[in-house]
Amino acid sequence: MLGLEAISANNGWAMAITGAIIVMCGLSVLAFIISQLHKIIGLFEKRKEAVPHFVRPAADFDTLNDLEAAARIYKPLTVNLGDSFHLTELYRIFEKEKLPHPHLTIRALRAAEYLQPLGEGVFRWKNEDQQ
């Protein structure tokens, strides 16, 4: 069998048209996704930038004598805990980060009201405009 008859008998028209549509659609969808990819990544990166980073204080930084600076430095540590947190959680992070005098520092921050009680052992950081 030859010619158009052979194409029809072997389902050639359907195969050619479907195949062409599949590859065209596949690459079009891929092209669309990659054209939007940088926007999606941009959104995530902006969010990441908005989150304050914890910067480890210098080795000679005296936490207890400059509580205002200490509060500013340590505040990013609790970003993942939300606006309010238990002091035990803050203490655990201090230990994990191997920061000096965790117990004394938290007590001093609390006494100077940089950590404000919300009741039932829950605290929050003093607002920056209050500081």
Binding site: G12, A16, I17, A20, G26, L30, I33, I34
Partner: protein
């Protein structure tokens, strides 16, 4: 004396006929083109030498030939018939490919899809000429201008045609500078060839480069699961490269591994062209259809670019459509050179590479689609 005569009867000189001599001449021609003219030497040299080796006549039954069980060549050829070498080549290709030009210009990906139309046109032509559907699909994939993809699909659908199809695919890839420019010039006006493309659209972040192989493999392989053996290693190789944490592996994949696979692939494909199985009327048909497939692929890319220009505010140079075939980087280089000939300040290479990269993905998807159609 009798022993000496018997020995002489078993030598290649005695067993040779005109067909073997002809094929050995073809092998020598390939070696000449590779060494003297530097036409795709990485492919033509192993294939050419393989053709010479494969066409040395021998006494059948000694376990020497590529089609004889337990011969060394037969074991090496297993990598071709099983589709192993093409997968390994794709791994290395992925580790070598930089997708940043494509990610910066996603609309050019459509040209990579359009250039695959040559495959489907040839599928119909081959069926019309009396090829069985599986053979027609294997012939058609030559239009993808991708040697490993052609070999892979043929190994799965029509293993008896691997020799002529592989030789046709690689020959046309080597003949890009002769086949493509006349078609490009015929289908475009000088004004169109002078269209300048903007230098860069935007910088590509590392995160984008990292995300692309994952998105690509999921999207393409979900669409055409039969393309997993090609696109899986391809995107994996690219992910290794872009991750920058396994530089040693990426480097090995893009150097030693792909080189080893290319050597054995080329050599055994060449050796599979034994005159008695290669020189048939079907082989001539395959060569003719291969050139049609390749020409239609080039033309459909260029024509699609012209159609896109009807709708686009910022016109694209239609020459880029010719780079939609997946002959990397030969067709991109040719587009660049044709563009430069018209306007020495028009640099199209990076744009053409974007089309070329999408052409690789497109032809592998086509192979997967055709394979799944034929398995029904």
């Amino acid at each position: 004396m009798e022993l000496f005569v018997e020995f002489l009867k078993n030598t290649g000189y005695f067993l040779a006929d005109i067909r073997y001599i002809l094929m050995i001449c073809v092998g020598i021609l390939f070696c000449f083109l590779a060494t003297a003219k530097k036409y795709e030497p990485l492919l033509l040299l192993p294939i050419g030498f393989g053709i010479i080796i494969g066409n040395i006549p021998f006494f059948k039954g000694f376990g020497l030939g590529i089609y004889e069980n337990n011969s060394v060549l037969h074991y090496l050829y297993f990598g071709v018939t099983s589709g192993l070498y093409p997968s390994i080549v794709f791994l290395g290709l992925g580790a070598m490919t930089d997708f940043s030009s494509m990610l910066a210009r996603p609309k050019l990906m459509l040209l990579g899809a359009a250039a695959q139309m040559g495959i489907y046109f040839t599928l119909l032509s081959a069926m019309a000429l009396g090829f069985a559907p599986k053979e027609a699909a294997s012939v058609a994939i030559i239009g993808g201008a991708d040697g490993p993809t052609s070999i892979f699909l043929t190994a799965k659908l029509a293993p008896h045609l691997i020799g002529p199809i592989a030789i046709a695919a690689y020959s046309y890839m080597a003949l890009i500078p002769i086949i493509q420019p006349p078609i490009m010039r015929l289908l475009t006006s000088r004004k169109e060839r002078l269209i300048r493309m903007p230098d860069t659209d935007r910088p590509i972040s590392r995160t984008e480069l990292l995300c692309f192989p994952i998105i690509g493999v999921i999207l393409c392989c979900f669409l055409a699961p039969a393309s997993i053996p090609l696109l899986g290693p391809f995107f994996f190789g690219n992910f290794m490269k872009e991750s920058r944490v396994v530089d040693r592996l990426a480097k090995t994949a893009s150097t030693s591994i792909i080189d080893t696979a290319t050597i054995f692939l080329g050599f055994t494909v060449g050796a599979s062209t034994q005159a008695d199985v290669f020189l048939t009327v079907k082989s001539i048909g395959i060569f003719l259809l291969g050139s049609v497939a390749f020409s239609i692929a080039t033309a459909s890319g260029v024509i699609f670019a012209k159609i896109m220009n009807i709708f686009l505010k910022e016109k694209i140079n239609p020459l880029l459509g010719a780079a939609g075939v997946s002959a990397v980087p030969g067709s991109a280089r040719e587009v660049h050179l044709v563009g430069l000939k018209e306007d020495p300040g028009n640099y199209l290479l990076m744009h053409a590479m974007a089309c070329n990269a999408s052409g690789v993905i497109g032809s592998a998807i086509c192979a997967g689609v055709l394979w799944s159609f034929m398995m029904r």
